[in-house]
Symmetry: C2
Subunit: 416 residues, 2 copies
């Protein structure tokens, strides 16, 4: 936790669908993350249902505690959209039809080629004295209200609209009004090292760079390293250089950077090379990760999901005798799968995965979680066998997909 | 909303990682859903950080409002695990070492073959007079406390542990103490009909079956129909029969039933038939959905991700002239892909998808979102061209994967 006295925030979510469990609230998480990034301390969060008095109580209590309150939801045109009324009640500001808000609502309907229903006038009924926050991507305008000492921002609940208005209107307003100087942050995304290894490797950073804080976060098999420092601390760039140096090839991406599949794609594109896949237990997950990246057709050629042994033999040319001698989950089979995929596609590189994702199919020799990988390319033939920490079929498959892509990444970066 | 006077609940989440945005709170959503299912009305939810006073304030305020309060998080062994202390403070119950709790913690460590650190004694320090809630899958025990008129349940924040303790301990205790008679619920999962069509089709149900409420929910391309009724309303089973009748083949699964891929797998298994896939724009997503289901090797043979045109020609035998005449995104190409996959695999059925997921690659003739499908099987050759409603590359690919599986499902159900 940073030392200086931070400005404080509170996040309010409004909607009966949140309290009935029908909708997972991702807005509060987004706002907590962004507010923290700006250097505010989030004191708490609350969810209110579709009752004006409940919403008013939550707004009044949170505005009494924090410098900034951000409320999402309840700005639509229907009778259960009550946020403006609740703010009116909580802070004694009469609600009134705002001509500028009405114009915005009407304009949005016109642009969409629709006629505004009378009920939509409701969306222009706002507490007196509020600042209108234009919604460039939806019909419901937002508003900001000074509720001394707090400033309250009310945004629509549709995540897409809320995020856009946060970026366009709320964040600049906050930076300006609170004269915020957000902390400096760096995020490093790592594969191949666990949290305790990272602690050993980087634990001296806060000593080497006073004022720089070090943090970790895990999303298996990825680990993340975070550096945070006050805006006037000078060493963060140097600390980041040291982190990069020490992490070496284990660092695959930085804050706001590419996903692993895109990193691999970038490496291949720069070399003008193409990739083929031979998947068994990952069952298309690696292909899926790759094709999720727009433009992957420039470097991804094709993939085989050879789930049955027959497919491994017929489509990839894995010798039947090899399967009989070593089994489908073996390094020789992984190698043969990758060789077959490379030869048949003509791609420069091929990656293969074959393993036992469970819950059935394990044996003493090859328990559930045994996964074999192959990477072949120009002058390259690598295999690897791993025991994936057992946390179920889907986590094992996900883990394997990332390991496979990462093996290729490392191979391209450090031939030989 | 049901009419009778419902028992009320409040959900509290504890953890600084929630307020910093580092962790998305899925516990509150789970609990809101389950509490609503039991017939309780959730009045609100709140999140508190790692400050004893904040947690105590939230616990006291929520116990003053609701019959049941469920709090998750803050039961671990470290100094920032403060929930027991906060409950002690909020309700004036001194905190004390509980011998039975300590035994449980020690036993968990013993079973894991580890020695309990002294710091773990902290997990056995609980408010006087509480009921211990055993944690069968983790070290942190939970507890329940009568905070008249409310009953407070404190559970660990690890979702896996929390859910297990909800099912084993909290739900039975609630049913018993509140003499709850949960409403009757039915959920129907539908493909091929939008919400307004479902409203037209089923809108008369509440009139035909007084006391039965009708609700909808969308997760494109799936729509869900919900029926809810008080426990003593007699017509729900009859209403469900009528819903099934009217939905016909558009109904693919019911509450607690199988995912779409598993439904398709069940149909194939019963016929002793196997499936092959030929994917282009879905890029392995259909394979991934299938292989996610344990045991899918009994009916899924293999898949091709023929992302390049060359792969379509080489691996699936799509004639080059066909590609030149119609393009890769065309019904003739989808048919040739499916035919090729079926012939080369020897599987009974093959499904193909080829489309323009965007953001690039669209044309006037074939805008982004144009997707063609093929299904071939014993005496069956079907194709379909669709314009997927544009909401981005990944939603378009997801939509297409579900449509493809659904085409196969319908074809098997209604040959000809």
């Amino acid at each position: 936790m940073l030392d200086r006295q931070a400005a404080t925030a509170f996040v309010v979510s409004q909607g009966e669908e949140l309290l009935s469990g029908q909708t997972l609230d991702t807005n509060a998480n987004f706002l907590c993350d962004r507010l923290t990034d700006l250097g505010l301390r989030v004191l708490g969060a609350a969810t209110a249902g579709d009752r004006t008095q409940d919403i008013a109580d939550v707004l009044a209590a949170s505005c009494a505690r924090a410098d900034v309150v951000i409320c999402t939801g309840g700005l639509g045109p229907t009778a259960d959209d009550l946020t403006a009324e609740a703010a009116s009640e909580a802070f004694g500001r009469p609600i009134e039809l705002r001509a500028d808000a009405l114009q915005q609502v009407e304009a949005r309907y016109r642009r969409a080629g629709r006629v505004m229903a009378d009920s939509n006038r409701r969306q222009a009924m706002l507490p007196r004295g509020c600042d209108l926050l234009e919604n460039p991507v939806g019909t419901a305008p937002g508003f900001a209200l000074d509720c001394s000492p707090a400033r309250l921002y009310c945004l629509p609940g549709v995540p897409f609209e809320m995020k856009r208005m946060w970026a366009d209107r709320v964040q600049p307003d906050l930076l300006d009004r609170l004269a915020l100087r957000p902390p400096q942050r760096r995020l490093f995304r790592v594969l191949g090292r666990g949290e305790s290894q990272l602690q050993d490797l980087l634990g001296d950073l806060p000593t080497l760079f006073p004022g720089v804080e070090l943090g970790f976060r895990t999303s298996m098999p990825e680990n993340q390293v975070k550096l945070v420092a006050e805006p006037d601390v000078p060493g963060l760039d140097d600390a980041a250089v040291l982190v990069r140096e020490r992490l070496g090839r284990d660092l695959f991406s930085e804050d706001g950077g590419e996903e692993l599949a895109a990193v691999v794609g970038g490496l291949l594109l720069r070399r003008g090379e193409r990739l083929a896949l031979a998947e068994s237990c990952t069952g298309g997950w690696i292909s899926h990760l790759i094709v999720t990246e727009a433009g992957s057709s420039r470097w991804f050629d094709r993939g085989w999901v050879t789930y049955s042994n027959q497919a491994k033999v017929q489509d990839l040319g894995v010798p039947l005798e090899l399967l009989e001698a070593h089994g489908a989950v073996s390094e020789p089979c992984a190698l043969a799968m990758a060789e077959g995929a490379r030869a048949r596609s003509g791609a420069d590189w091929a990656v293969s995965v074959t393993g036992i994702a469970g819950p059935e199919g394990g044996s003493e020799d090859k328990p559930v979680g045994t996964v074999c990988f192959g990477v072949v390319g120009p002058g390259v033939q690598r295999t690897r066998r791993m025991q994936i920490p057992s946390r179920g079929r889907t986590p094992t498959r996900r883990f394997s997909a990332f390991i496979a892509l990462d093996m290729l990444r490392r191979q391209i970066l450090s031939p030989g």
